[in-house]
């Protein structure tokens, strides 16, 4: 491994695992100390590489959940039962362990306060991870940009960052809307069912307001939400998308 990273070049490096946080029964956040971290922009990801004793390597991408202003780099990982990498990260990794990664990566699915808004964020499942980084960045940068997050989960127990999102939603200009697709508590007064045209038109600003939109989730989720917004009249050039595999590799 290179001793010094050349700025701008992508170099594998070892991060120290500081803490693991249970987000839901299937999702953990990995709090990392990354020596010489060059800083990142909200929405970027890292590549994580695991190496077995026999030299076999497996690599996956994970979105960065922390804001650039946060003290640590945080990744949030959903455990996939048939996954090669995520079960190790969620079940085996311990504080004090090393984790090999490279990044930050990506320049498209990125929001910075200077890009303005209004900011419409649409998340399916663990697609909320990079969008949470954007909301944390918005708060840390003291941005006054109005922001709305529409977040679809299977059940209340599957909602990642519930407490953090409640805190972020306390800002006047931030509105967090949850929709639950499979089961909901009897007293649930949020939305029910999948993100569809009706829900999008209810939550999104009118197309004329020119919202900057970020959609992240599975391929099917992202395409339904993006097509829906374009059909409602939103400018496709202001709709940015990031698709996770059916295997949820990111």
């Amino acid at each position: 491994m290179a001793g010094t990273a050349v700025r701008g070049r992508l170099t594998w490096q070892l991060a120290d695992v500081v803490e693991l946080v249970d987000e839901t029964p299937r999702v953990k956040s990995i709090v990392l100390d990354v020596p010489d971290w060059p800083g990142h922009r909200a929405g970027q990801h890292v590549d994580v590489r695991l190496t077995a004793e026999d030299g076999y390597q497996a690599q996956r991408s994970y979105s960065i959940a922390s804001a650039p202003e946060d003290d640590h780099v945080v990744l949030t990982v959903e455990r996939l039962d048939d996954g090669e990498v995520s079960p190790y990260l969620t079940d085996e990794l311990r504080p004090g362990d090393k984790l090999e990664l490279r990044g930050p990566i990506g320049g498209y699915f990125v929001w910075e306060a200077s890009l303005g808004g209004p900011l419409l964020l649409v998340a399916g499942g663990s697609g909320v991870v990079p969008l949470r980084a954007m909301l944390r960045h918005r708060a840390a940068a003291r941005s006054a940009v109005p922001a709305r997050l529409l977040y679809s989960s299977r059940s209340l127990g599957d909602v990642i960052y519930r407490d953090d999102l409640n805190r972020l939603a306390a800002y006047d200009e931030v509105d967090v809307r949850l929709t639950l697709t499979r089961e909901w508590p009897t007293e649930w007064n949020g939305h029910r069912g999948r993100v569809d045209m009706e829900l999008l038109s209810e939550v999104a600003w009118p197309p004329g307001d020119g919202a900057l939109t970020y959609i992240c989730g599975s391929t099917g989720f992202v395409e339904a939400a993006a097509n829906g917004l374009v059909e409602l009249g939103h400018d496709p050039a202001r709709v940015r998308t990031e698709r996770f595999g059916p295997s949820g590799s990111r």
């Binding site: 992508l10 991408s61 990044g103 320049g107 498209y108 998308t241 990031e242 990111r250």
Partner: protein, 83 residues
């Protein structure tokens, strides 16, 4: 198989080109459509990684890594323009 998008190959491209590439606009050599690499339809489940045009489905980029050597075929692209 569901297509991902160019965000999924941002790391591989950065490794090869030495810079962030997903904001770069690629022009399809078949239909002439231009799109950011981030918006290409990307298939990562095959033996290699394939990026296709979302307008006409033509193959734009094929990448394979063999014994840590990256092979990148950009033959489907008529042009690459950094934004």
């Amino acid at each position: 198989m569901d297509a991902l998008d160019g965000n999924a190959i941002a790391g591989q491209l950065m490794e090869v080109f030495g810079r962030e590439m997903t904001m770069t606009i690629g022009t399809c050599g078949q239909c002439g459509a231009g799109a950011r690499i981030a918006e290409f339809a990307v298939y990562v489940r095959g033996p290699g990684t394939v990026a296709r045009c979302r307008s006409c489905d033509a193959i734009l980029i094929v990448m394979t890594a063999i014994r840590e050597i990256n092979c990148v075929d950009l033959g489907g692209l008529a042009d690459l323009t950094p934004e």
